[in-house]
Amino acid sequence: MSYYFAIIGTQDNPLFEYEFGTSKQGGDGQPRFAEQARHLNQFVLHSSLDIVEEVQWTNGQLYLKVIDKFFTNYISCFMTAGNVKFLLLHQPTATAGGGGGGAAAASTRNSTSVGANPTSPQTEEAIKNFFNEVYENYVKAIMSPFYKVNMEIRSPVFRQRVTAAGRKYL
């Protein structure tokens, strides 16, 4: 399982990005994206912004769950009250090479791990917890007087905390 997490500002501008792998089921926390896929991830993620705009008014929740799927890439979204989007792209392990054929094999082998089935309630819950923790730290980061709205988040402390949240829940 590999993850690509990005925070998108109100002008659809990226504020923060972070790639990581699962730490559950003996994962080492390293992403296993193919080299070409890493660039593609950014496009996949940003292209789902249109769908975010479609679904954001349909329910009152901040957490919008899985909103988009591109081959084996699933996109979960969390909207902050200030219209900043947290997007998480998750990709089950066996398909890290980019092919679609391995998905079935992966689901039988890793069926108990978080994320093997990206739309299961357990995965949704884990991602929700991850988002909530990031949200809490995001609020602290933007409370810094030297931070301006829609500015890139460069704080190393924030990055550490996102890393910690990823390790804890995903």
Binding site: A141, M143, S144, P145, F146, Y147, R154, S155, V157
Partner: protein, 189 residues
């Protein structure tokens, strides 16, 4: 013992409270704006903060004396330090910095801030200079300088470490320069 009396005074003095985040954000905005106005000339920002604090201190001492019911002069500088830490900081910022590192002549001491209500959420700009040049809470030095000047003590105060810079503690050094004998008109600063 004088120190327990000071703590009691600090505890007993009732002050109106404001939301901590209001203080953090207001002060933070001032510092950030100064940094912008002076083009990140942090030495100048420190100076300005100190000057602002000085002007606050000149007036704040009156408020302090009125609210804290301190009827008596401090007999020595050690007692003054106790009153600053346990009454002054307690009633205005609701913190009690620790007094340490006295010099043997009793004219210099350090205030160590375990918590700093101004610095919540703050991360200094990562331009490579702020970490070495900016004293974020420098206004406090000015406040002490101004307030003590009004009660006939000329002091020099400056920060020597700050957790925001990555130091382990936030420490302010205060040195008594002299007791002012005659009431001088405050300089037009």
């Amino acid at each position: 013992m004088a120190s327990s009396k000071a703590s009691r005074l600090g505890e007993e003095t009732r002050m109106d409270k404001v939301n901590a985040e209001l203080v953090v954000l207001t002060y933070g905005t001032i510092v950030a704006q100064l940094c912008k106005d002076f083009d990140s000339d942090y030495v100048e920002v420190n100076k300005q903060l100190d000057k602002m604090g000085y002007n606050i201190g000149l007036r704040l001492i009156e408020d302090y004396l009125a609210k804290s019911n301190t009827v008596r002069r401090c007999s020595n500088f050690r007692e003054t330090a106790e009153m600053i830490a346990k009454v002054g900081f307690k009633i205005f910022l609701n913190i009690t910095p620790t007094i340490t590192n006295w010099t043997s002549d009793g004219k210099q001491f350090s205030l160590v801030f375990d918590e700093n209500p101004f610095a919540d959420f703050v991360e200094l700009p990562d331009d490579g200079r702020a970490q070495d040049e900016l004293w974020y809470s420098n206004i406090l030095c000015g406040v002490l300088r101004g307030a003590l000047e009004m009660v006939q003590m000329q002091v020099e105060a400056h920060f020597i470490s700050d957790v925001l810079r990555g130091n382990d503690t936030t420490e302010m050094r205060i040195s008594l320069i002299r007791y002012i004998d005659d009431e001088l008109p405050p300089e037009d600063d």
